[in-house]
């Protein structure tokens, strides 16, 4: 059974000017699609033929891992946004953030620091540990915290393709802008 590119719940022009239509056309339409296509080329005939994406991410290496994780990571990333999202965490996630970081602004600052200081291509993550507490982790390239038994809550793609057309070398501006389109209704439910 082939993996498919999920349809986005918003229009490609609806996140502008934070993320431009052109960036989404390439990021979703080309990069995300290519990871799906590559995975579908690589998996048949391997031990992962009938595996879920999560299973592949936990067990595979090399090209199969890279493409599977990039499919999952991009879906998770794109499905955190909405043009008119809820701007603050809700429910149990509020308490968890306060307990761990003191306040939501303090969390935002620490998350932004992780995203801006990750060297090269990769992803910054807010994760839930098995004991329910939160952590911020950086993963290079296709890295995904599921591999370490962590539950992803939020991610930021800091591959240059995610922001270069709109922000060029100014990654901190990109990271700062994302707070305006993140939908904490969706994100809070993941906790």
């Amino acid at each position: 059974m082939a993996f498919e590119l999920p349809k986005l719940p918003y229009g490609l022009d609806s996140l502008a000017p934070i993320i431009s239509k052109q960036t989404l056309e390439f990021h979703y339409g080309k990069h995300h699609q290519a990871y799906v296509n590559n995975l579908n080329t690589l998996v048949p005939g391997t031990a992962f033929e009938n595996s879920s994406l999560e299973d592949i991410i936990k067990k595979a290496d090399g090209g199969i891992f890279n493409n599977a994780a990039q499919v999952w990571n991009h879906t998770f990333y794109f499905f955190s946004f909405s043009p008119k999202g809820v701007k603050e965490p809700k429910g149990a996630l509020v308490d968890a953030i306060h307990k761990q970081y003191g306040s939501f602004p303090e969390f935002k600052e620490q998350f932004a620091t992780a995203a801006t200081t990750l060297f090269g291509s990769g992803w910054a993550w807010l994760v839930k540990k098995q004991d329910g507490t939160l952590d911020i982790v950086k993963e290079s390239n296709a890295g995904n915290p599921l591999r370490n038994g962590l539950t992803p809550i939020l991610t930021c793609d800091v591959w240059e393709h995610a922001y270069y057309l709109d922000y060029q070398n100014k990654r901190p501006d990109y990271v700062k802008s994302l707070w305006d389109i993140l939908d904490w209704e969706i994100i809070s439910k993941r906790y």
Binding site: K30, G120, N141, E160, H161, Q168, N169
Partner: protein
């Protein structure tokens, strides 16, 4: 004594249409300049001040990530600008003979180098490296290079291609193979020869 951003030998638009002027300007004045100043920040006022970039690379595994990343970024881009030129051409003389000996032919070398550049996952560089065993193609992640003690293939890089997305995204977006193909039109083979001989 500080590391300095080297002057470019050509104008920002000199490599068009293969590398556009805007990419060139941002790449040099923002990315390369930032690596250079961050390298100085990491070194100045420490015991490492005054060491050459080559000395730093030789023991980079025991130094801070700031030196590995920014030292590599400083040196790799300095090399990159030098091995590019609006007047490309083809390798000649001893360099061509060495390429033929190590790879079979110039075309086979190009294919191997292009493949290394295209398949480097994430950010990094493709290299033509002079080693004790002749010429070798390799690739490194992020800003690592063959002069570093952490490199899988160690030796003297004589040609390098930046495959960080910032090197091509404004002009080629997701089409890294098109950027690699374009690169062959602007290789400064005289400079590569010089680095091979010395």
């Amino acid at each position: 004594m500080s590391f300095e951003l080297p002057k470019l030998d050509y104008s920002y638009n000199a490599l068009e249409p293969y590398i556009d002027a805007r990419t060139m300007e941002i790449h040099y004045t923002k990315h390369h300049a930032a690596y250079t100043s961050k390298l100085n920040d990491a070194v100045n006022g420490t015991a490492l001040e005054g060491k050459t970039i080559f000395e730093l690379f030789r023991s980079v595994s025991s130094l801070s990530p700031a030196i590995r990343n920014n030292g590599g970024g400083f040196y790799n881009h300095s090399l990159f600008w030098k091995v590019l030129s609006p007047n490309g051409g083809a390798p000649k003389g001893d360099l061509l003979s060495a390429i033929n000996t190590s790879f079979g032919s110039f075309d086979k070398f190009k294919a191997e180098f292009s493949n290394a550049a295209a398949t480097r996952f994430g950010s990094g560089w493709a290299w033509l490296v002079k080693t004790g065993n002749g010429l070798v193609v390799s690739s490194t992640p992020n800003q690592d290079n063959p002069l570093m003690d952490v490199a899988e293939v160690k030796g003297t890089p004589i040609l390098g291609l930046d495959v960080w997305e910032h090197a091509y995204y404004l002009n080629y977006q997701n089409r890294r193979p098109d950027y690699i193909e374009a690169f062959w039109n602007i290789v400064n083979w005289e400079e590569v020869s010089k680095r091979f001989i010395s």
